[in-house]
């Protein structure tokens, strides 16, 4: 609580000063707000800068350092793809897992979300409640049960990538059904009916009218699934045993376990793991918060 009081006073001071605006110069309040904004921005940019700089730091400057390296070892960025580091194979595995989970979630969630938002039928409320209730099950708690299940079905011996596609689809399914249900529900039924009056079948109306209108919601939910499967760690850590099956997240962690940590290549891999997330996230950024809180606040 002490933090809250102190912080609030800091806000209060410039606001009081602003009551006497000086002509010409920007007011103190504006200056303080701008400064605070830059501080916040720097807090977020600086760690990424450190990540990028370390990725091209020559290994002899890792420990005996100045803030900026005296030389940039750009070759780090090319030789990190060597098979010794396994970054390329991990990239492939990550793409397979996240892509597979996304496709699976789309195929499974879309019909359910469409029907629950368009029709009232027996069991609808029960289904939606089931979807919501599974959100309480945390991966950290579930992982033992999931591991045992996949072990007894023998799926782990076949290919852990398939198991991870299934697990990630499961983790993200409920959220996607919930979001899509809300999103399709916000599209007027009348549009679909008009399309059917014009001679479309129900499926035709769905594909020609409702889905195109719902596309922003669908894309948001899918990118969200992709990112969360891409970032997933605990299931990947548990279900993969051979290093050739490691996705990028587990690969990053495995760098740290080594006797001498190969920080330059670790951060090369980290950049590889982060860039796709940045690009995908930039596409949906504006809609994320609305989408996340849509299910929880009326």
């Amino acid at each position: 609580m002490a933090v809250r009081t102190a912080a609030a006073r800091n806000v209060a001071a410039p606001a009081a000063a602003a009551k006497r605006p000086s002509r010409g110069l920007p007011s103190l309040k504006t200056a303080v707000i701008a400064a605070a904004a830059y501080v916040v921005a720097v807090i977020f940019v600086l760690p990424y800068l450190e990540m990028l700089i370390t990725a091209v730091r020559p290994s002899r400057e890792l420990y005996d350092r100045d803030y900026l390296p005296h030389h940039f070892a750009w070759s780090n960025l090319t030789n990190m793809w060597g098979s010794a580091f396994g970054i390329l194979s991990s990239l492939r595995v990550s793409i397979e897992i996240a892509g597979g989970a996304t496709v699976l979630v789309l195929l499974v969630a879309l019909p359910a979300a469409y029907y629950t938002s368009r029709r009232r039928f027996r069991g609808r409320a029960a289904f939606l409640l089931l979807v919501l209730a599974t959100q309480i099950l945390q991966p950290t708690a579930l992982i033992v049960g999931i591991y045992k299940e996949f072990l007894s079905f023998g799926l782990l011996n076949i290919n852990p990538v398939w198991s991870l596609i299934l697990v990630n689809a499961g983790f993200n399914l409920a959220f996607t059904v919930w979001i899509l249900n809300a999103y399709i529900g916000s599209i007027p039924v009348e549009l679909e009916e008009a399309a059917m009056v014009d001679g479309n079948s129900r499926l035709g109306a769905l594909f020609r009218v409702t889905l195109p209108l719902a596309m922003p919601g669908v894309v948001t939910a899918l990118i969200f699934t992709f990112i969360s499967a891409w970032n997933e760690f605990i299931a990947a850590l548990t279900l993969t045993t051979s290093t050739s099956d490691y996705p990028l997240t587990v690969r990053l962690d495995s760098f740290i376990g080594q006797y001498t940590v190969d920080w330059q290549h670790l951060f090369g891999a980290s950049v590889v793991a982060t860039i796709p997330v940045f690009i995908l996230f930039a596409l949906i950024e504006g809609r994320v918060v609305g989408g996340l809180t849509a299910g929880s606040i009326k």
């Binding site: 760690p47 309480i136 950290t140 605990i234």
Partner: protein, 337 residues
């Protein structure tokens, strides 16, 4: 099919061009009619997701419940011994384990510090974003949200490196700070991950850094929906920012704050990835939180799945109680219809 529920099952609806149907093979037509007659369409469409949720979430959860009352370890996995029901044996084993209490204490203390810190910092930044011009607000919130979307492992290894005793930026800066700021040579090679307190300081910074952007942008979204006249009229009446926040902003945005509080508690109480990476796996037992402690029971040889399941059950029940308490409170306040 037509659009109202009442007519959904009526066979064959006039809007469907029947010409298309007769071209289908007979078994398919028969199947379609059968689905229609029994009004099975909704259940067929829901079946895939119900099966997926059942197999991937509900069934593992049920198994957890069963294992937590069984003596389920390595002999049972290999088939050397049969499973036995042990009643509450696993739970009493856990409750008498001092490591359980120390990891529970760490989890509770961590949440008690990180949740308020995240909410306060997030709210302040949200209020700040609301004051900024459109372009600056977009820049800051994008930068912040990217941190939120960054893989937890990437952020964790980054913080491990920044706090590294040999080449890390933090020790490098601390060595160069003037003496009155506690800078100096005693930071030379200071290890942040060898003891619980410094390790959790790093984890706290890391988790706050990654999670307050979401709070900030959610609060900003809420602030945008508030009519500016509310705060304006209060300001005219002489209210300061502190009063405006607690008398107007907070009550109006209370539902959002409650959801954010709940989500933060759920995320921070069960935090796994950041802790696992920062404390360097399962080596330092006095740095375990509840999630790591449970994981260690399940996946360190010899595995004790029964104990791990009982722990997972405890974790889930704690979160369930918090959630139910929250939902009941919000129903009472009429926040949820």
């Amino acid at each position: 099919m037509l659009s109202t529920a009442k007519r959904a099952g009526a066979a064959p609806p006039p809007a469907t061009p029947n010409g298309q149907w007769s071209q289908l093979p007979l078994p398919v037509r028969y199947l379609k009619n059968w689905v229609r007659r029994h009004r099975l369409a909704p259940y067929l469409l829901l079946l895939p997701s119900a099966v997926a949720i059942g197999l991937l979430l509900v069934w593992p959860a049920i198994q957890l419940g069963i294992y937590s009352f069984q003596d389920y370890g390595l002999p049972q996995v290999t088939g050397a011994a049969g499973t036995q029901w042990t009643g509450f044996g696993n739970f009493s084993t856990i409750l008498s384990d001092p490591e359980f209490w120390s990891s529970l204490k760490l989890s509770v203390a961590f949440s008690a510090i990180v949740v308020p810190l995240t909410l306060v910092v997030g709210t302040l930044v949200g209020l700040l974003l609301n004051r900024l011009g459109r372009r600056m607000a977009a820049f800051v919130s994008t930068a912040a949200l990217l941190a939120w979307a960054t893989p937890a492992v990437s952020a964790s290894v980054l913080f491990v490196w920044v706090f590294d005793p040999d080449g890390g930026l933090v020790d490098w800066v601390l060595r160069r700070l003037p003496g009155w700021l506690d800078g100096g040579a005693h930071w030379n090679g200071f290890s942040w991950t060898n003891a619980a307190l410094p390790a959790y300081t790093v984890i706290t910074l890391l988790v706050v850094w990654q999670s307050f952007p979401f709070i900030a942008v959610s609060v900003l979204a809420g602030l945008k929906t508030m009519p500016p006249e509310l705060a304006e009229s209060a300001r005219v009446d002489g209210a300061g920012p502190w009063q405006i926040f607690w008398r107007i902003t907070y009550p109006v945005l209370k539902p959002i704050f409650m959801v954010l509080l709940l989500l933060s508690v759920i995320w921070d109480f069960g935090v796994f990835t950041q802790v696992y990476v920062v404390i360097g796996g399962l080596g330092n037992r006095d740095e375990f939180n509840l999630g790591i402690y449970a994981y260690d029971h399940a996946f360190t040889m010899p595995p004790t799945y029964g104990l791990a399941s009982a722990l997972a059950l405890i974790l889930t029940v704690v979160l369930l109680i918090i959630t139910v308490g929250y939902v009941r409170a919000s129903v009472r306040q009429g926040a949820i219809d």
